[in-house]
Every structure is written in structure tokens, then in C-alpha cells.
Symmetry: C2
Subunit: 251 residues, 2 copies
DNA sequence: CGAGTCTTTGATGCATATCAAGCTTAGTGG
DNA sequence: CCACTAAGCTTGATATGCATCAAAGACTCG
């Protein structure tokens, strides 16, 4: 188990978190130092498809260092709904109220680190590290907003609108991480999984993606996807004055 | 403007909040005192139907003292989706990230009080008032869980299941508040509004409620509704090992 | 080269939306 | 007390978006 500060050329585990926080508010040198120093335990790797047990008792929190994670629930008859995605830089917490909680699945091979220290650092010590706290606050707010958007998508948008809307959201998140540019983004999701996010059948998901491709809005392929026409997508997603700009501003 | 502690026989504004927190974890005498002392500003009343402006800049928080509130969004073409309901005892915060946020509407006549002091008290001062903080933590966790349940309802349940599921959830919330007993609960929602929560058309909402009535599960009427068969509703809602017990345990 | 996992396509059916109208209730003013 | 109105509830007819079923291509990997 080596300390994060030891890491030189190899990618730092906290890099996505640092970039995401910085995209919300300037964090400063000592903010960055604080982030790095609060992740000291050994990273943990898990294969694609693994179910990740979140211990509700310990109020466990983990930072996603790489890979994609889905939070959701499985119904008894096999229906599955993904409630949200966690990307590198995101922190997942055990909702930990009672019984059957949300489940957590690895959609790709993932690397995670314990984030309990980070979590408590941000909730406890009042005044210190104020700029960092502000960035964190905005980041959590954005997360709540994403949940709300997911509800609106599922409740009132049709398949075509839903898909456009989700793709824009994922694009915006990756722009913050620095891993998307000009509409090209990393999308390691099978159509099956996309369908379970959007509350659609896999067949209809496929047809909807074809429709977007025919309209030259999206070039979808598993792994790498290009949003060819961002303004067109915004229009397709029916995003007028609803839930903030999904086209990223320059930071 | 009189202090909360002055109030004698008339109902205390913080009563619902106190009951709800106590239903999550014991709060103790000094916890209760802390709650009461942190609401000092004048309550504000608003008529049914009012849009409540939430100032995103000031990170504004308000406690709902009485009445029902809906958070949601309006699409340009008139479609509306309600993301969540706020009942007495709930605290609403301005999501306050960027532009067009969620809107907030009063579904009934409401009374609210500024909750900024309460909010900051619970996020800032570390160790003190630990039992209160624990209750608050669980309460917020329950809120996140409700969001997740809303996503699952809209994504993967049909109209009949959705309705049963939502009614159970509202029942559970009111049991915590002490305002529901044996399935009888206060429901000041028109079918129109219910439809906008569940992502259905008003017509189909009506037919679904009739179906529940025919099956002797729910006796719905605006204002007062009786869940006649809680176990039957649980079955109808398809709640097997998904998202925790909605039938309230004795506290 | 075979086996599994994904994607694509076509055919059919159902759940829910939409449209249109009548009905019920409560409130309002003459 | 009785029109009159407006909001909500109810019902029927029709349309459609999406699910489901089934099977056939593509791809990937050992």
C-alpha cells in the first residue's frame, strides 16, 4: 500500500476527481493537496459485471478512479432499472437506510479507492479548505440535478428525446473530466444497458439510436460515440428552459 | 416576529419536523431544543397554486410547516413532470446550480419558515448534537432513496404498480409524521397532479385509480384516501426486495 | 472454427396517450 | 334559491409508441 503522493508518472487515482471539482470551482493548490492526502488506502480493482457490495452500516464511501458503475435495482421478474451512473471522479455512498437498497454494478473493469476520509473531511471541519468545500457543494448539487433530470426523462420524454437528453448529459460530464471534446465521448455501454437507464426495451433502444444516426445527430458505437450535432441534439432533447444548460460552457 | 419558544397552545411550526426526525432516530430533549431555537424568523404563508421562487444564490432553505409542495419542471409544450413532493417537516433547498432549475409550486395553501440557520447548524458544527445529526442524516438518506424509487417507478413499473407504489410511499411518510393511521391518509392531490407525478395522462390516472378501487385496495377521494389493503398494495406495487420496506415498522 | 454476446430486423400486440364529450360538485352572484 | 360558471371527474372511441416475440446477422474471443 503506497501513499498517493508517491505516485509519479503513472496516472494519479484522484486525477478525475480533481478535474471534476476544478470544473465547478477553483480549488487551489492546498485544496488539491487536501484531496490527495485523504486517499491513502490501497485501490481495489474489480472486473466488469461485478456486483459491488456497499456496506450500509459503516456509511461507506468509495471514489471511482476508473471505469463505469451503475446504481440501480432489479425487480423480481427480471426487469432492471438503472437509477444513475457513476463515472471516474464520482464518489458513491451506501444509501444505507434499511433493507434492500440500491445495488451497485461495475459496467466495465473498475478501480475504486476508499473515500471515507475524504467524505468526513468535507463534512466535518467547518471553515478550513473553503474553496474545496464550495466545489464539492456544487458537485453534489449537480448530482441531485442529474437525478431530477432522470425523473423528467423517464416521466415525460419519449424514447428519442430521452436518448438525446442522456447523451448530452454524459457528454457534459465528460467534458468536465476532460475526456470528451467536440462531441466525441467515451461510451462503454451496450444498448442493453442504455435501455435499462432509459426505461426502454433493448429493441426499441436500438431503433432509437438508428433514428438518431439517420438524422445525423449521433454516431453511436459501443466504446466510442460522436455527437455530431450538439445544437440539433439539444433541440431533439426538448431542452427549453428545463434543467439548465447541457451544452458545456468554457470553464 | 415572535420566537418559536413563545408559542404555547397553537401548533408549533416545527412539530412535523420534530416528529419526522424522531421517527428516524431518537433526538433527545436538547436535540428538540436545538431544532426549535434554529427557527426564529416569521413564517410565510402562500396560497395554493403559487410558484415559490427559490433563490439559488443564497443557498436558500425553507422548512415546510404545513401544506404540500411539488418540485418539478415544465416543458415548453406544456408537459409537466413533478420530481418530488415536499410535505410538512420537509426542508426544501434551492438546487442552485445554474440556470433554469427545478420549479417549486404550492399544491395547497402553505406555511413555510426560513431554514437557513437550521441547515447550517446541521452541516457545520461537527461533534455537537450528535443524535440530532444522526436523525437528520437518515432523513436525508431516505430522501435520496425516494428519488431513486421515483426513477424506478417511472422507468420500469406500469401505471397500476406505480400508483400502488406511490401511495404506499406517501402513507409511510405520513405515518412518520403521525398524520396517517391504519391506511387512512391525507391526500390533497387532484388526479391531474397525481398524473404529473407518475408520468401518466390524467385520463389514465383516473382509470388506474378506478382499477385499484375495484380491487378493494384503495378508496381514493381528493383530500382523504384510505389504503384498504396494505399487503395487497405491496404486492400490486411489485415491491419484492426492491428499495426497502414501505410498510412502516413500529418506531 | 465454434460459442457467446451484442446488434439488427420484422411481425404482432398491448399499454397508454389523445380527443371529445358528458357529468358532478362547489362556489358565486343575481 | 336558482342559474351560471369553472374545476375536476368519468366515460367511450381511436391512435400510437413502445414492448414482446422470434430469428437472423455481426463481432469477439478462446
Amino acid at each position: 500500500m503506497k501513499n498517493q503522493s508517491d505516485i509519479g508518472l503513472e496516472a494519479r487515482l484522484t486525477a478525475p476527481l480533481e478535474r471534476m471539482l476544478a470544473s465547478f470551482a477553483p480549488v487551489g493548490i492546498e485544496g488539491t493537496a487536501l484531496i490527495r492526502s485523504s486517499f491513502t488506502s490501497a485501490p481495489q480493482q474489480q472486473p466488469s459485471g461485478a456486483a459491488i457490495p456497499m456496506d450500509p452500516e459503516r456509511n461507506q464511501a468509495r471514489l471511482v478512479a476508473s471505469g463505469w458503475i451503475a446504481r440501480g435495482a432489479m425487480l423480481n421478474d427480471g426487469r432492471r432499472q438503472i437509477v444513475g451512473l457513476s463515472l471516474p471522479g464520482d464518489v458513491i455512498v451506501a444509501s444505507g437506510s434499511v433493507d434492500a437498497d440500491l445495488q451497485v454494478w461495475a459496467l466495465t473493469e473498475i478501480v475504486t479507492v476508499d473515500a471515507t476520509a475524504f467524505w468526513t473531511m468535507l463534512s466535518e471541519p467547518g471553515a478550513l479548505a473553503s474553496p474545496l468545500k464550495e466545489a464539492w457543494r456544487r458537485c453534489r448539487t449537480a448530482e441531485r440535478l442529474r437525478m431530477a433530470r432522470q425523473v423528467i426523462r423517464l416521466g415525460r420524454l419519449n424514447a428519442y428525446e430521452r436518448t438525446a437528453h442522456l447523451l448530452l448529459e454524459l457528454h457534459e460530464r465528460q467534458v468536465r473530466l476532460g475526456s470528451a471534446r467536440n462531441g466525441a465521448l467515451h461510451l462503454p455501454l451496450t444498448q442493453d444497458v442504455l435501455a435499462d437507464i432509459l426505461g426502454l426495451s433493448a429493441v426499441h433502444m436500438n431503433r432509437t439510436l438508428q433514428q438518431l444516426r439517420r438524422n445525423v445527430l449521433v454516431d453511436y458505437r459501443t466504446g466510442r460515440t460522436v455527437l455530431q450535432d450538439l445544437p440539433g441534439l439539444v433541440q431533439a432533447a426538448n431542452l427549453s428552459a428545463v434543467c439548465g444548460p447541457l451544452i458545456p460552457a468554457p470553464f
